[in-house]
């Protein structure tokens, strides 16, 4: 029997009507496709698998595309290739033993896991992390955001064939990893924010070296602006692609840069301030056009804002004071019954940890809410319709998804 997808929810036409993207030509057919039988035997449609190992896919997930010519008429997202069962593993580990695990839930930006987990444990255990630790936590989160964006920019440009951007951003990201290494003792899995505070203060001369790194990143970012954002090829491909209607932001749970690029100034750092964000000067970066180009640009400007935030933090943070709150013996740390949800604004959107404790020495339930789940699965399935096959990779990257965090 022919497969009959339900297309009643899909937009017939892009509301701006302005887009010059090839897909816009087909907005009328989108409805037709919805009413058409997708009969694979007809020879009109083809199934195409993109992933799980594919350069156009971030990490291990896969897209099941139904194409008609070079146009996607339907896309399904498949995840599960990276499932490591972290949430379940944590139920069998003591509260301190979960600390080395959580960072693995998101490889390119691990620190949000550390922060959210630590903050959730602290809240349920009735512990207040010291002020200086909060500043350092904020610093780490902003450093991580810069790194995450640098990685994204390389990927976004690469998806449209601009290989050099990735080389540049990888170079400066490496400098930032050097800063992470000297601060936390590791380049990727920093394991620095633990329940109660942070492991250590800033090493001597850190501010100076960080400033040099920031200057270098700014220099590279100005090159990126010239070569990527003021680039006819990039504009031709990215402008108008992957439009997200602002009306979809709420129903689809879209957060972070994809929401801000649609003009919705959602930013947990402002909306529900945590750590020392209330003491920092910043305004959420927004855009208007809600396409791939705008999302990239929002991220570029957000990155520059993070550089500014790092400078603010280093200038204002206390140099003295405790780094760890008084915590009980971690070997038999029991936390009273309770539940909480801790959220933060990571580079991709709202990141959250839902933690349930039952009075024992182990978490009863941990649920990690990563933005990739909503963005890369539900939203992607919607955006992909009418997309050109060659643009699928650029579209997916523009949602800035990290599959490890879908699969917890």
């Amino acid at each position: 029997m022919a497969y009959q997808p339900d297309r009643s929810q899909y937009p017939a036409r892009r509301p701006d009507g302005l887009s010059r993207h090839p897909a816009s030509r087909d907005t009328s057919t989108a409805l037709c496709v919805g009413s058409l039988d997708i009969d694979l035997a007809s020879g009109k449609y083809l199934k195409l698998w993109q992933g799980p190992n594919h350069p156009g896919i971030t990490g291990n997930m896969s897209l099941e595309l139904t194409v008609c010519g070079d146009e996607v008429v339907e896309g399904k997202t498949h995840v599960g290739y990276l499932h490591r069962g972290f949430e379940k593993l944590m139920e069998r580990r003591t509260f301190i033993q979960c600390f080395p695990i959580v960072c693995r839930i998101c490889v390119p930006e691990p620190d949000f896991n550390e922060y959210c987990y630590a903050a959730a444990v602290e809240e349920l255990a009735g512990i207040q992390s010291p002020e200086r630790a909060d500043w350092i936590r904020t610093l780490i989160l902003e450093m991580g955001r810069i790194n995450s964006y640098l990685m994204y920019l390389g990927g976004q440009a690469g998806a449209f064939g601009l290989g050099v951007i990735g080389q540049w951003t990888t170079y400066v990201r490496d400098l930032m990893l050097d800063r992470f290494e000297e601060l936390s003792g590791a380049r990727i899995y920093h394991m620095f924010i633990l329940p109660g505070g942070v492991r250590d203060g800033l090493p001597d001369g850190f501010e100076q070296r960080m400033e040099e790194t920031l200057v270098e990143i700014e220099r590279v970012m100005s090159d990126v602006l010239d070569v990527m954002f003021r680039n006819a090829v990039f504009k031709k491909r990215a402008v108008g692609l992957g439009y997200i209607d602002p009306a979809l932001i709420e129903p689809y749970g879209v957060t972070g840069p994809p929401a801000r690029a649609a003009g919705v100034a959602k930013d947990v750092r402002k909306d529900q301030p945590y750590l020392v964000y209330p003491q920092l000067d910043f305004e959420p970066v927004t855009g208007a056009d809600s396409d791939v180009y705008t999302r990239a640009d929002v991220r570029r400007r957000d990155l520059l804002m993070s550089i500014d935030l790092v400078r603010q933090i280093l200038a204002r943070m206390p140099k003295e004071g405790p780094l760890m709150a008084k915590i009980p013996n971690v070997l038999h740390w029991k936390i009273p019954r309770g539940e909480t949800y801790i959220r933060g604004e990571c580079s991709r959107g709202e990141y959250g940890y839902y933690l349930v404790t039952d009075g024992s020495g182990y978490p009863r339930r941990v649920n990690v809410r990563g933005p990739s789940y909503t963005h890369a699965m539900a939203l992607m399935e919607r955006l992909i319709v009418n997309c050109n096959i060659a643009d699928v990779a650029g579209l997916l990257v523009s949602l800035h998804t990290y599959p490890p965090e879908i699969e917890r």
């Binding site: 090159d223 056009d289 013996n329």
Partner: protein, 603 residues
């Protein structure tokens, strides 16, 4: 920003070409090492001389990467399990929790990160034992100062202020509240090094866990499994366990003794009997025990539980032995001893007081009426310095004075006294005299002269501190030379400064600096330099028959003497402290039980 494309958008990308003239940044020389950062979490290092094999690193590792294994050249000894952590790099994630939790700070990480090996098994190694090139690396992750995953400080124990306590014999320490006890119990890492050290091998981590859980009945059951003198030991045990506690290396040892006391204090006395349990069905065997001290009563407790009929003969008018007659009341109130004895009596043990062997009963008659006889005579004779003047009537032995003080006999409290000795008993008598002086004359005038210097002092530091607070003058490295007697009255003690206590062969042979002489006035001098057993109690005939070893009764591992019906235990064969006596009581009870049930034992 508009979507309009401009000429600039076509030209601008070509600015990328300017990078052609820059040095490449991504190429690093693979031959020259790039050292990891100062905090880099690289390969592990372990200072195995400092590591105590407590296994806390193994406990915390969530990857199960650490196994505690025996290591070549490392001995098992008090406070050191002899094991060392072996790390499996197939599992390790370099989280450094093991470094953070390490109880001694011996475990660290180097900044090395390159290690090439063709045999994958080699990546499971024992840092510090299997030598590696990074063993001496100075950089790498060390646990930052102040960064602790286990609390370092002991929960506060309330006690009477010196001014208040010196005026009475009331117990000094208040004992932990439930809250304080939980805090203290929380610090334990359950390594179990203490269990090996405790002479009675009490299940310390387990009963501490019971305190954490607030399950005091379980705690008490655990205590009485190994120690029927738990209430007493909870107050006055020499707590050697605390000297091997893993927590002592980087903080205060766990207050094991106070936690034991806390458990005992939480259970109402009536419940004890229920918790301790009922004896086994009667076996019909009869055991006589001479001496109602900790060793004798422990053996009585064990044997009675096993269903034997036990009779204890005590020379003095109350049971308890040295716990009653040798320990001042401010450390151990009488009613604690009474309660402890009541538990033992409740098992059906018949304790008969005022029954001195040689006077009221004879060992021969005991032998005839019983299947086994155990003697626990204790150490009730004080040793003398034998210095000139020490034969004067006002030169007393601490053991006698303490007994008199406990019995509230009036021995003529001196206005000023000198104590010879530096052990805990010397502190006991000095502090007892101080209290008596305070009560009788309103002021404390006691001098303690110890042979050892403060660096090698025998008494517990807290005893020394408290004695000092109570106004007692403690002088170290003073060798007694003469008790000065004028007109037939003791007027004081003359001492020289001690240069060394032992000679080159390590034998006891003090040498003195004669130019440093001091005179310590006092109308009473108390010798507190050790005690011995009154072996005359055994009677000549039996003494003849028994085998001796350098003045000590010779016994086998189970405490059996060369006479098959006679066992000996307690301070007279080992010791001297309560918990050693308890341990000995268990040992000897097991030996007697085995002898009484030869068939059962063989099964």
């Amino acid at each position: 920003m508009g979507f309009c494309m401009s000429v600039r958008d076509v030209l601008s990308p070509f600015t990328a070409w300017k990078n052609l003239f820059l040095d490449p940044v991504t190429i690093r020389d693979p031959l020259n090492d790039r050292p990891g950062a100062a905090r880099y979490r690289g390969f592990h290092q372990n200072d195995v001389g400092r590591c105590i094999g407590c296994g806390t690193c193994e406990t915390i590792c969530q990857n199960g990467a650490i196994d505690m294994v025996p290591a070549e050249g490392i001995e098992t000894k008090q406070g050191d399990s002899g094991l060392r952590p072996r790390i499996d790099y197939g599992r390790c994630c370099w989280c450094a929790l093991c470094v953070d939790v390490c109880m001694t700070g011996s475990l660290t990480m180097s900044n090395a990160y390159k290690w090439v090996e063709s045999d994958p098994d080699l990546f499971r190694f024992t840092p510090g034992v299997d030598r590696k090139y990074w063993d001496d690396a100075e950089r790498g992750y060390r646990r930052p100062e102040d960064h602790r995953l286990t609390p370092r400080e002991r929960a506060h124990m309330g006690e009477m202020a010196p001014e208040a306590r010196i005026g009475s014999f009331d117990e000094i320490v208040h004992g932990y509240s439930i809250e304080q006890a939980r805090l203290e119990a929380d610090r334990c890492v359950a390594c179990g090094l203490c269990v090996a050290t405790c002479p009675a091998h009490m299940a310390i981590p387990d009963y501490i866990a019971a305190v954490r859980d607030g399950d005091y009945e379980r705690g008490l059951r655990l205590l009485y499994d190994t120690n029927p003198f738990s209430q007493i030991c909870g107050r006055i045990c020499t707590h050697r366990c605390e000297t091997t506690c893993a927590a002592r290396h980087e903080g205060d040892p766990i207050a094991i003794r106070w936690l034991k006391r806390h458990i005992c204090d939480q259970i109402p006395h009536e419940k004890y009997l229920e918790i301790v349990g009922k004896p086994a069905p009667a076996t019909g065997k009869r055991v006589a025990i001479v001496g109602a001290g900790p060793a004798g009563l422990t053996a009585a407790f064990d044997l009675a539980k096993q269903g034997h009929s036990v009779t204890v003969f005590e020379a003095l008018d109350k049971p308890g032995g040295m716990t009653r007659w040798g320990i001042p009341e401010y450390r151990l109130p009488y009613d604690i001893i009474d309660r402890e004895v009541a538990v033992i009596r409740s098992l059906g043990v018949d304790i008969r007081c005022n029954q001195r062997i040689g006077r009221d009963i004879s060992l021969k008659s005991l032998r005839n009426g019983h299947d086994a006889v155990l003697i626990t005579l204790g150490l009730q004779l004080g040793r003398s310095t034998r210095i000139p003047g020490s034969d004067h009537a006002d030169v007393r032995k601490s053991v006698d004075l303490l007994r008199q003080a406990r019995a509230c006999e009036d021995f003529g409290t001196p206005r000023q006294a000198v104590v010879i000795g530096g052990g805990n008993v010397a502190m006991d008598i000095a502090r007892t005299l101080a209290r008596l002086q305070k009560l009788a004359y309103g002021e404390v005038r006691v001098t303690v002269t110890a042979l050892e210097d403060f660096a090698h002092f025998l008494a517990d530091p807290e005893e020394v501190k408290e004695a000092g607070e109570e106004g007692i003058l403690i002088l170290d490295a003073r060798g007694p030379q003469q008790v000065v007697v004028e007109d037939g009255k003791v007027v004081g003690l003359r001492t020289w400064r001690v240069k060394a206590i032992f000679d080159e062969q390590g034998r006891f042979a003090p040498s003195y600096d004669e130019t440093d002489e001091q005179f310590h006035p006092g109308e009473m001098v108390v010798e507190s330099i050790g005690q011995m057993t009154d072996t005359a109690l055994l009677g000549d005939a039996l003494s003849e028959q028994l085998a001796w070893n350098r003045g000590r009764l010779q016994v086998d591992l189970g405490g059996r003497t060369s006479e098959s019906w006679l066992w000996a235990a307690g301070d007279m064969v080992r010791g001297p402290d309560v918990v050693s006596a308890v341990a000995d009581g268990h040992r000897v009870a097991a030996s007697i039980h085995a002898a009484l049930n030869p068939m059962k034992e063989r099964q």
